[in-house]
């Protein structure tokens, strides 16, 4: 995260005629450390804030015995804690890097929209194309720049997904801590908008066969080509990119699933609560517009305790007799009395998949995961071996490492798998 650190040019006079001066990190952080309540009060104000309002906050939050309000105001401008909305404006906003720092420190975050994530994916795709072209042309500089952009984009994407998760957790915590300040309808809309506008669409993008994974795979291949063809000598960056891609694949899905798990119960409860309240309001509203008899027919629960005097009634007896008369007897079903002992193959596969992690855990660390599966379960088909492999690769309790090098062949019951070596250890 960048903190303002630059020299303000001689011509860039700020509001109030303050002399431009160099901002040093120490000065900046010293000021912040002694004005935390004031800065937090400014940070939580939505939108811009007028000079008069800032001055009022300064008087409320600053200790006038140690620093005059005017001095505090000047420091806010000098240190670029506040920047004018536009040149000469008397309305200010907190500088973006500082705002981000506050969000981080107060564990506050805004959810990331699917459009932003799609933007990152587009940026990754663009960088991937430049990587491919750079590799083909042997242009190390283009490859370096594209790899750098991949690094930057992956970091931002992960940060934003984490921010979405934090925003979800904060909203859930807010709901649980304060259940009386806003109406059911409003809380429902807040939870629903988080779920419907952020979490669900993001899951769609990030799921295994979604847009993100395809782009990550493509980028991974392009980076591998850059490394293997020796176009780019700084292997650290390429390896870091590859590492980030692996982490993002696993963490993105995990983070969003966790968000969904947090929201789902509230979503269900609030959806019903909101519908109940809506139905009651609607029924009351119609009371004035309809004749009472019609209203009763449409909006009242049939709850009269009508006792049953003499069952069965004639109607029931008639219906039963008709059913007997009009239907020929149906022979009883023939039950097979012999047990075959065959267990459905899908069930056997499910049991095997469920127990696979435990079996592997006894042998950890395993240097060659594909080899471990094919040698321990030679009776399994290629598709079963791949299923098992996917289950273990996405197991959050384990760490997977894809070793570079030539692809090896692994024999299964009905075919051959080709893969590079995958090692696995406990997470």
């Amino acid at each position: 995260m960048a903190v303002p650190y630059r020299e303000v040019g001689a011509g860039s006079t700020r509001a109030g005629g303050i002399e431009p001066m160099q901002i040093t990190p120490k000065r900046f952080f010293d000021f912040c450390a002694t004005h935390v309540p004031l800065l937090h009060a400014i940070a939580i104000k939505p939108g811009d804030i007028s000079e008069a309002h800032v001055r009022q906050l300064v008087r409320t939050f600053s200790d006038t015995a140690t620093e005059q309000p005017e001095t505090t105001w000047q420091r806010l401008i000098e240190l670029q804690v506040l920047v004018p909305l536009e040149e000469g404006s008397s309305h200010y906003v907190m500088s973006q890097p500082l705002l981000q720092l506050f969000n981080f420190l107060y564990n506050d975050a805004l959810p990331t929209s699917p459009e932003i994530i799609q933007g990152y994916i587009a940026a990754l795709e663009s960088a991937r194309k430049r990587l491919v072209i750079g590799v083909e042309a042997g242009d190390a500089l283009s490859v370096a720049m594209a790899a750098n952009e991949v690094d930057h984009t992956l970091r931002r994407m992960q940060d934003d997904l984490d921010a979405t998760h934090r925003a979800v957790l904060a909203e859930v915590a807010r709901y649980k801590a304060d259940r009386t300040s806003v109406s059911v309808r409003e809380r429902y809309l807040r939870i629903v908008s988080l779920m419907d506008q952020y979490v669900h669409p993001l899951v769609e993008i990030i799921r295994v066969d979604g847009l993100l994974v395809g782009t990550l795979d493509g980028t991974d291949i392009a980076l591998r080509a850059a490394r293997e063809q020796g176009v780019y000598v700084e292997l650290g960056m390429v390896e870091r990119n590859e590492r980030q891609i692996r982490v993002l694949r696993r963490r993105a899905i995990h983070t969003l699933n966790e968000s969904r798990k947090e929201l789902q119960p509230l979503y269900e409860v609030l959806r019903r609560s909101s519908a109940i309240a809506h139905g009651a309001t609607l029924a009351l509203g119609r009371l004035r517009q309809m004749k009472l008899e019609d209203w009763v027919t449409n909006y009242v629960v049939q709850a009269d305790r009508t006792s049953i005097e003499c069952p069965p009634t004639d109607a029931v007896l008639n219906r039963t007799l008709q059913a007997v008369i009009s239907h020929p007897p149906i022979p009883p079903p023939i039950l097979s009395m012999t047990e075959t002992g065959d267990t459905p193959p899908d069930y056997v596969r499910l049991l095997w998949l469920n127990g696979l992690s435990d079996s592997l855990r006894e042998d950890l660390p395993v240097k060659d995961l594909t080899g471990w599966i094919t040698s321990n379960f030679p009776e399994k088909s290629t598709s079963d071996a791949l299923l098992g492999l996917s289950r273990l690769l996405f197991d959050p309790s384990m760490d997977v490492h894809f070793k570079p090098g030539k692809q090896k062949e692994y024999r299964t019951r009905d075919g051959v798998l080709e893969a590079t070596t995958i090692s696995i250890t406990k997470a």
Partner: protein, 192 residues
């Protein structure tokens, strides 16, 4: 099939129009364990034994379905809808709050707002005394338990009112959707 446990007690209770809830202890446990068997037993008699998702039982008859609800129930409905709306407006979780709290008639929101008062006047509830009488009448429906200290609580079968509200809301949303999604009709040459 007539070897079902407590069959007579279960039938006597249900045929009088009562609900069987957890409060009935043994009868409820018997019904919960043998629900399908009881349901099959009552079906040929034209009686539909309903197990509500909130785990209480009642009998439903086709005759009751075709009979309009009594006018007395309109006041009960207005009373319930006002209480639900007021609870939701205060930000409280409707079901959890209404089914876990004890209420006093004097503390109810019904006579504290002109809008609510006008709704109640439409069903001839004008003051606290008639409101109290109305709440006491809900005991008969198995929705309320009234205590000697002039307080009351809602019982589990009150969920049927919540269900009704939800159904009203869903029906209205469905209606709105159908209006909004009306496909453009083709040009009718006859109209020219």
């Amino acid at each position: 099939m007539n070897n079902l446990p407590h069959l007579k007690d279960v039938f006597d209770k249900l045929r009088s129009g009562a609900y069987i809830t957890h409060e009935q202890g043994g009868l409820h446990a018997t019904l919960a364990e043998n629900y399908e068997a009881y349901k099959d037993y009552f079906e040929p008699l034209g009686l539909n034994l309903v197990r509500h998702p909130r785990d209480f039982f009642y009998l439903h008859t086709e005759a009751a379905e075709s009979t309009p609800a009594s006018a007395a129930l309109s006041a009960v409905a207005v009373f319930s809808f006002v209480l639900i709306e007021s609870t939701a407006n205060e930000g409280k979780p409707v079901e959890e709050y209404l089914l876990s709290e004890r209420f006093s008639v004097a503390g109810l929101p019904h006579l504290k707002s002109d809008r609510y008062k006008s709704h109640l006047r439409a069903v001839e509830i004008e003051d606290e005394a008639s409101l109290r009488k109305l709440v006491k009448s809900m005991v008969r429906y198995g929705w309320v338990e009234y205590f000697p200290d002039d307080t009351f609580r809602f019982l589990r079968p009150f969920h049927r009112v919540f269900d009704k509200c939800q159904a009203i809301s869903f029906a209205a949303e469905e209606e709105t959707r159908s209006v909004l999604s009306t496909e453009p009709k083709g040009i009718d040459p006859e109209m020219n």
